[in-house]
């Protein structure tokens, strides 16, 4: 009876990271760092620029360290820990200035806030810096709503939009309701609901190329639901989802499109017809 199979089990040390808890927000800072994210950098740079303009409009000085690149998520979610850690370490160095870090994408913000802890689980020294970064990382919309406490005047024409919320915003960052709240403050914007709103658009980084058939079915359903809402356009605060959804809409030869929330918001409150 003593030689049971489970007795052979060695003691392991890995433990689960903490789940996101409701956070306390600081007063509006004078300066912030914008972490643009690689997808915005290459494919939606105007959204990053609009984010900068919105922040400046709040009287905040924006820093954009030219040494920034990617948060490391693609390698991390593909199982390449060492490669993810190299990239993450370089970004930790870039963002080491103590300023709040504002990120126009839920999944990259989630990487800083949640997954860097796992990436550096075996480096206690680095973990202190990771905790520091996690504490001062904000998703863009979260930052406007809870740190800047914006009350914006909507200068745009009346419009109907659908909002797509990224899974990382919803399940890692607990920021999925922020865009709703912020949009509700805009007098001329009506947000239309769509079916299966909480369901993933099918991107998942490399999932979309490793499992193209399943991912394709998911994005098709998502784009159909968004169009069926009757909205004029879709807005989202996540570059990855936007790349996936717009790429699929284009392939389907639809005219309906998605736009980054930063660009939509800048258009509404600046009165400029987009950048």
């Amino acid at each position: 009876m003593s030689e049971r199979f489970y007795d052979a089990a060695p003691n392991a040390t890995r433990v689960a990271p903490a789940r996101p808890a409701p956070r306390e927000y600081p007063a509006k800072p004078a300066e912030v760092t914008l972490f643009g994210t690689c997808v915005v950098d290459l494919f939606f740079p105007e959204a990053g620029l609009d984010a900068i303009r919105l922040l400046e409009r709040e009287g905040i000085r924006v820093h954009f360290p030219q040494e920034q690149s990617c948060c490391g998520q693609p390698a991390w979610t593909s199982g390449y820990v060492n490669e993810a850690r190299d990239v993450a370490r370089s970004q930790l160095d870039v963002l080491d200035n103590g300023l709040p870090v504002v990120v126009p994408s839920g999944s990259c913000a989630g990487m800083f806030r949640q997954h860097y802890r796992e990436v550096f689980a075996e480096e206690p020294e680095t973990l202190k810096r990771v905790e520091d970064l996690a504490g001062r990382t904000f998703e863009l919309i979260e930052f406007f709503l809870h740190v800047c406490k914006v009350e914006w005047k909507d200068l745009g024409q009346s419009t109907q939009i659908a909002l797509h919320t990224s899974c990382s915003a919803r399940r890692e960052m607990n920021t999925h309701l922020h865009a709703r709240e912020l949009l509700a403050k805009l007098d001329n914007v009506e947000r239309l609901e769509h079916n299966h709103e909480s369901e993933c658009c099918g991107f998942g980084g490399t999932f979309s190329v490793r499992m193209p058939e399943v991912s394709g079915a998911m994005v098709l359903d998502k784009t159909r639901a968004l169009r069926d809402s009757g909205a004029v356009e879709m807005v989202t605060a996540d570059g990855g989802c936007l790349l996936n959804i717009n790429g699929s809409l284009d392939k389907q030869k639809q005219t309906f499109r998605g736009r980054h929330l930063a660009s939509f918001l800048w258009e509404r409150i600046s009165g400029e017809g987009g950048s």
Partner: protein
């Protein structure tokens, strides 16, 4: 009884099976309708979010504590059950478990077995094992009965025949049992019931699973809605229960919250129609119940998961199926696509420990990591995090010590080299900016076809100026303006 389809006859990869499932529009509709309804039922069962979260927290603590004391709890369970007159057997492999069950049936000269729904017996492929030895093992759960009749395997752990609609079941009964076709669900259930009733009375042995094994009292607890579990554990003279070693909990008090989480997460029920608690064979003054009770405790890779504190959380699972009900991948491809006993998110994290990652190399990747499974799991298994961990194990170099059986199957020097290059580009600002420079300048030259990506999307064309460029120009202009004013 028709034989089940051997796995080798199915398209061998997850992707292949997924493609087949996606092409079956009836199947897709069946799953979408069923999953939407189950999601709604679960939501309705937990109207108070705070209460739900407190209960999940409690469920997680109870399971974590039970697992931290697993060896002791199992010894206590064995002692207590033995004291109650139950014969306890241990099996490291499914082969061993089958041999034990078979030898019990053989010693009673049994030839007919009725079985209540049991996922562990599916793991063992007990029906086939016994059939090969001339013993008929009839499934008594309606869903299981339907898939057995059709020569299939279950596609869901709670609702084995969820992939079929009533018309398909009606056709099946018509073809196999020679009854009239009917659209009436009640009539369909009555047809199954009439067939099964007779079998309960004829059976030599009843087999069941176990939802919770209670160490303190030596009690096997089994929940069900149809009464078949009660029949198969009390009517035949011999009852054999099979369970995984992770089902043991300390005491009856621990079961209360877990049971509530299980039934509400699974079908949105406050409690099931039947909650069977079996603590031993029939006593001399009792009118019913089996004369002999056996328990087979199965490992089948669970101790491997147990050995790693992060992976150990996999064993928290109380088999409610909520993760599959909320999984966008499962909803689209159905349970058979997973090609193994446990489908959906839990299947992706538990199956590698049972059969080895080399047998299910696509499992860890078949997820967008959307997190819906982790969000609903009643015992808070961080499924996305464990999937992510299995991806690491999957691409490990074969020289590194394996944590999971068959790890390193997806190791590819070429892919690792590509990620090394990617890491170099993204951790050296000069190289990254070089990349931006090239991409923004030559973006228009992006080929129209970019591998699997362009199956569902047009190729993304890089912008003509990167955010690095735009931000630099904008911030410099702002500074200059600021300096002048």
């Amino acid at each position: 009884m028709s034989q089940r389809i051997p796995m080798t006859e199915l398209t061998s990869s997850f992707r292949g099976r997924a493609t087949e499932a996606l092409a079956d529009s009836q199947l897709r509709t069946n799953f979408r309708v069923a999953m939407d309804s189950l999601m709604q039922k679960r939501a309705d069962a937990f109207p108070d979010e705070q209460e739900r979260e407190r209960l999940r927290e409690l469920g997680n603590h109870i399971k974590a504590r039970a697992l931290s004391q697993l060896p002791d709890a199992l010894e206590q369970l064995e002692d207590k059950l033995t004291e109650n007159g139950v014969h306890v057997h241990w099996a490291e492999t499914t082969e061993e478990a089958n041999r034990i069950v078979h030898s019990i049936i053989e010693s009673k000269q049994g030839s007919q077995v009725v079985k209540g729904k049991s996922m562990v017996s599916e793991e063992m492929e007990m029906n086939d094992y016994l059939a090969d030895r001339g013993i008929e093992c009839l499934e008594s759960d309606m869903g299981e009965y339907i898939v057995q009749l059709d020569g299939e395997k279950p596609s869901h752990i709670i609702m084995p025949a969820i992939h079929k609609n009533r018309r398909q079941v009606s056709q099946l009964f018509h073809n196999k049992l020679g009854v009239e076709e009917t659209d009436d669900v009640n009539e369909l259930i009555q047809i199954g019931r009439r067939t099964l009733r007779k079998k309960f009375l004829e059976a030599d042995v009843g087999v069941s699973g176990v939802n919770f094994a209670i160490a303190e009292t030596g009690t096997l607890l089994l929940v069900e809605n149809e009464g078949n579990g009660r029949m198969s554990t009390t009517v035949p003279p011999v009852h054999v229960a099979v369970t995984g070693i992770e089902k043991v909990v300390a005491n009856l008090r621990d079961v209360v919250p877990l049971l509530s989480l299980l039934t509400r997460s699974a079908l949105g029920q406050p409690i099931t129609t039947y909650v069977n608690m079996i603590s031993g064979p029939r006593k001399p003054d009792e009118l019913d119940g089996p004369e002999e009770v056996y328990l087979v405790l199965l490992d089948n890779g669970r101790s491997g998961a147990f050995a790693d504190a992060q992976m150990r959380q996999t064993l928290n699972c109380i088999r409610c199926g909520a993760c599959m009900n909320h999984c966008p991948v499962y909803t689209r491809v159905g349970g058979h696509t997973y090609g193994e006993v446990y489908p959906g998110p839990i299947g992706k994290i538990i199956t590698p420990h049972m059969v080895g990652l080399d047998h299910v190399p696509d499992h860890p990747s078949a997820s967008s990591l959307c997190g819906a499974c982790g969000e609903v799991c009643p015992v808070k298994i961080p499924i996305p995090e464990l999937l992510q961990r299995l991806r690491q194990e999957n691409v490990k170099s074969p020289d590194e010590p394996p944590v999971v059986k068959g790890s390193g199957t997806k190791h590819s020097r070429k892919e690792r080299a590509l990620w090394r290059i990617w890491a170099a580009l993204n951790s050296r600002p000069g190289l990254y900016k070089g990349l931006l420079w090239a991409a923004t300048r030559f973006g228009k030259l992006t080929p129209g076809k970019l591998g699997p990506w362009t199956e569902n999307h047009t190729a993304p064309i890089p912008a003509r100026r990167s955010l690095h460029d735009l931000a630099k120009a904008h911030l410099n202009a702002e500074q200059n303006q600021g300096g002048q004013s």
